[in-house]
């Protein structure tokens, strides 16, 4: 059963992105095919050089970068939303696959869920 977890909420203003990553890592820990798709303001989770110490939070940047090591098969992001938020190859986390057609990306998974 392949599962796609979708993140559309901006980083640090809510916990939804972290909780989505936890869900994805849990699936992977149980050897379930799992992937992440970032859309809308959610794509901003993928920017390099996040430094949330000043707001008393921990960066998710390392955790996201390490997700493939823990079995998360793909991290995708909407190409148009990345463009809208000024995310380019130069400032986006390595390993993120941008997709032009998020509808097609979603269609590739048997289950699609949001964290909140």
């Amino acid at each position: 059963m392949s599962t796609l977890i979708v993140v559309d909420q901006a980083p640090y203003g809510s916990w939804a992105g972290r909780e989505a990553l936890d869900m994805t890592l849990s699936l992977a820990a149980f050897d379930q095919p799992a992937a992440l798709l970032f859309i809308g303001a959610g794509v901003n989770w993928l920017r390099q050089q996040q430094a949330p110490e000043g707001i008393g939070q921990k960066s998710l940047e390392k955790n996201l970068s390490a997700a493939p090591i823990f079995g998360v098969e793909t991290i995708m992001a909407s190409a148009s939303d990345c463009q809208r938020y000024g995310l380019t190859d130069a400032n986006t986390l390595a390993g993120v696959v941008t997709v032009d057609d998020t509808k097609a990306a979603m269609a590739g998974y048997e289950q699609v869920a949001f964290a909140g």
Binding site: D8, K103, A107, G108, E110
Partner: protein, 96 residues
């Protein structure tokens, strides 16, 4: 890697108000044969954005009634029992 497109018709249950960014994301993810059910705040799309909704869009009766819309949109109204039947018929369900 399971990237073969799944062609199963999908049941989309959408509970966000039409102004919410996830509302538009849901509309953009609909394929022919999919079923869209509006629940909670999303039923407000019937008076507001009716032309953008696919034909056959359904809405939860209790949510229409709560918001004073049951009379105007009775034709699209389904109760929770009918929503359950739709979940029986659709193995693939996305809750937006």
């Amino acid at each position: 890697m399971t990237s073969t497109p799944v062609q199963t018709p999908t049941l989309h249950i959408l509970n966000k108000a039409p102004e919410h960014s996830r509302f538009a994301a849901c509309l953009g993810a609909l394929s022919p044969g999919d079923v869209l059910v509006l629940s909670e705040n999303a039923v407000l799309a019937l008076p507001a954005r009716r032309n953008e909704l696919p034909e056959g869009t359904l809405a939860v009766s209790a949510d229409l009634s709560a918001r004073g819309l049951e009379e105007a949109f009775a034709a699209q109204s389904i109760d929770y029992a009918e929503l359950v039947r739709l979940t029986e018929q659709h193995p693939r369900i996305i809750s937006w």
